[in-house]
Point group: none
Chain length 238, copies 4
Amino acid sequence: MIERAPAQSPRADMVRNRQLLLTAATEAFAEGGVDVSMGEIAQRAGVAKGTVFRHFPSKDDLLAAITLRLLDGLVGTAERLLKADDAGAALREFMTAGVETLTADRAFCEVIGRPSLQHAEVRAEIARLCDTVEALTARAREQGAVRGDITGTDVVLLLGGIHQTAAPVLDQQPQAWRRYLELAFAGLFATGARALPHHPPAGLHLTDPRQSARPAGGSPPSPARRRQEVTTTKGHTD
Amino acid sequence: MIERAPAQSPRADMVRNRQLLLTAATEAFAEGGVDVSMGEIAQRAGVAKGTVFRHFPSKDDLLAAITLRLLDGLVGTAERLLKADDAGAALREFMTAGVETLTADRAFCEVIGRPSLQHAEVRAEIARLCDTVEALTARAREQGAVRGDITGTDVVLLLGGIHQTAAPVLDQQPQAWRRYLELAFAGLFATGARALPHHPPAGLHLTDPRQSARPAGGSPPSPARRRQEVTTTKGHTD
Amino acid sequence: MIERAPAQSPRADMVRNRQLLLTAATEAFAEGGVDVSMGEIAQRAGVAKGTVFRHFPSKDDLLAAITLRLLDGLVGTAERLLKADDAGAALREFMTAGVETLTADRAFCEVIGRPSLQHAEVRAEIARLCDTVEALTARAREQGAVRGDITGTDVVLLLGGIHQTAAPVLDQQPQAWRRYLELAFAGLFATGARALPHHPPAGLHLTDPRQSARPAGGSPPSPARRRQEVTTTKGHTD
Amino acid sequence: MIERAPAQSPRADMVRNRQLLLTAATEAFAEGGVDVSMGEIAQRAGVAKGTVFRHFPSKDDLLAAITLRLLDGLVGTAERLLKADDAGAALREFMTAGVETLTADRAFCEVIGRPSLQHAEVRAEIARLCDTVEALTARAREQGAVRGDITGTDVVLLLGGIHQTAAPVLDQQPQAWRRYLELAFAGLFATGARALPHHPPAGLHLTDPRQSARPAGGSPPSPARRRQEVTTTKGHTD
DNA sequence: TATGAATGAGTATTCATTCAT
DNA sequence: GATGAATGAATACTCATTCAT
């Protein structure tokens, strides 16, 4: 109902809308977490609700797309830093970038933090991130810049942990994460410290959540659950 | 639907139900986060929905009750450890207990992590926890067991951070948090490390969420939002 | 579930649905009073519950829309009659139309009758009605057709009163209101009668109900009451 | 659980409670209308909810009991006035008392106004009231104090109408009903006025609402409706 | 392709009523 | 008889998703 400039290709508009949506959704989720409604995102992007669903068949797909963009960014950063001379400094820089990213995006944390929220693609990208960061970490280990028992997966996991440490005071002290990042560095670079217990996680090669059903005591998965398999963890029963 | 012990007084059943509810709710929230419905909790506890509301007039009250139990436990632990000789070991023990507690309860983290989810009582108890832990930390500092720039609030915040670090692999490796706890200790006890940047948070003396409205760019607060001021952050639109 | 005329634009259906809803709601409220549920209205209109809320974001809005339609009709009638030569006859005609309207709609009375049920818009329209009717009445007074101490607000109030007089026998004698209307005329046009006591109401310029809390003796306003500020007056306890 | 003074007879307490309840309920309903909850009434009376139900098996029964008391009062007043010399003045006095009673009790109006809210006993008492008032009116007619075409049922109905006229301004002008009562007198006593149209209602000998089902278009009476047959008119659907 | 109206399952919460103590 | 805990149907309202235009 609103005219659009006749763009170069018929697809130009679609591409534009996709960008608009990703931007709006990133912002919206960042501010409000995964519970922000599709309607609000549509509105922020200035498109109709139907358009959101044309581009992303479900809310989960949209969440996945956004998360992937962020993960890609981190992977890119890690890859770039792989070329730096000082591997310790590179690791520092990567982690700083990583925590900053998380701090800006609440939804990202929620998605990353809950296995049940994850798309296959996201899981794959997480694996890629872990691999790249493992390379980064390996170099730092070899250069003696980090303690020897630290893995790439540790580093990736720490990103979320450091962010979470500062999260409760985020409103009052938006930079507090820097404090806890430094504290983590102190641990990470404490080459003389006592060895870490418990073997390092094998990576975040998370299993498909659909296979790890309710551990115990739950009711059978109601049919109404079918929709929303991924987004919601709302158990329910009735 | 559930057998009942032939209790002596009508209160006996009520007490039992309250316990049943707290247990069921703790479990349910731990598994599914704060979005688990009251209906599911009722069912898990084997009572009718109305019974949940008789015991906890609103979902927030239930959440608060659960959270308070956990916080009380932590405060108790901290108080007990205040009497230990070795303040460093005491701090270690407190943090171990703390992270373990968190690991058992996802909702706890969500409630603690989001100022907007908090009851006045919960905020008060958090303050109390911070104070007690500050005392614990002060002793450790004085004994030279921890670096000098660590506060009690730092310690409390770290509990959530350490837990979060391991959370993504919780299903596969339920003990992974021990690894990151030790790593945190390495940072905390690294007395020679470089000073932490950014002054320590003043405590978790969180402000009343009703005063810190949506920061920016949001949609106008729909009137229907009025309900549920505390629990939900769900935006919506259409 | 219901046949639809093959309309030209998507709006056609929407308009139709809006009409369907207003009609169904008017009927439903007329029969059952304001306590009829939104679900029943949806069903009567042959639409889903969500559709009702798309058109009228809350029950109050629906009630207000219906009431406004009726008020508008009355204002229109009054304005038209302002041009008549015989002001007394015009007033008679207006009142006849008014009572007839009310008789067709119970909810209208409940909404008009209770200050606490009112939308700002409804209050404004009531004020407009009073003003127009005051003009009508003033002319009748000047022409000596009505007693001198009758105001427009009196006339508007009488509409509800006359309707109410006949309401208990509405089912058995749907035209009984004509009898009481005539009786009211006899009072109104009784120019020689003794003066009315108590000064006339200043108009129905009702105050915002949120400022006039429970007068006395009540229970403390439960927080859960916040929702539904307008529609319900349901106290509760337990 | 609370000791009570060992009253004369074992029933003394019951009688007391019944009074307490009737008083509390009258007040509560007067203030809040029929939607006040049984819980609130119990609380106001200082008894437990169960006690309310022991005395009045359902909310309708309680409502009926209260309404009967008021009706009884009116019948008593009418009977007393039957002995007065000046029948016109007696009628005036009766109506004044009647409207005043109504004005003090919102629930009474709701119950009287809606056939569907009525108990058989209430209907019988209304009939008795009509009869008594008919006698009162007949005397006034015979004395030429009222116009000849006015019946006792007219008078009873007018009570509600006059009250309703002033109801919308009740908060601001609690005495406004006197104005409309006088206006009604002017009509009633206007012996020279034109004859009233439409034959007078045969009385309020209302039919059992259960026999006059939904007139048209409604949904089938849901089984869940069975309870609450009288009180609620809440249709519902889903 | 974009739109936005319609859908309908889901949520928290209320309240009359029942029943064990 | 009194108590108050438990019940469960009902209600207003939300939101992901579908589908006609």
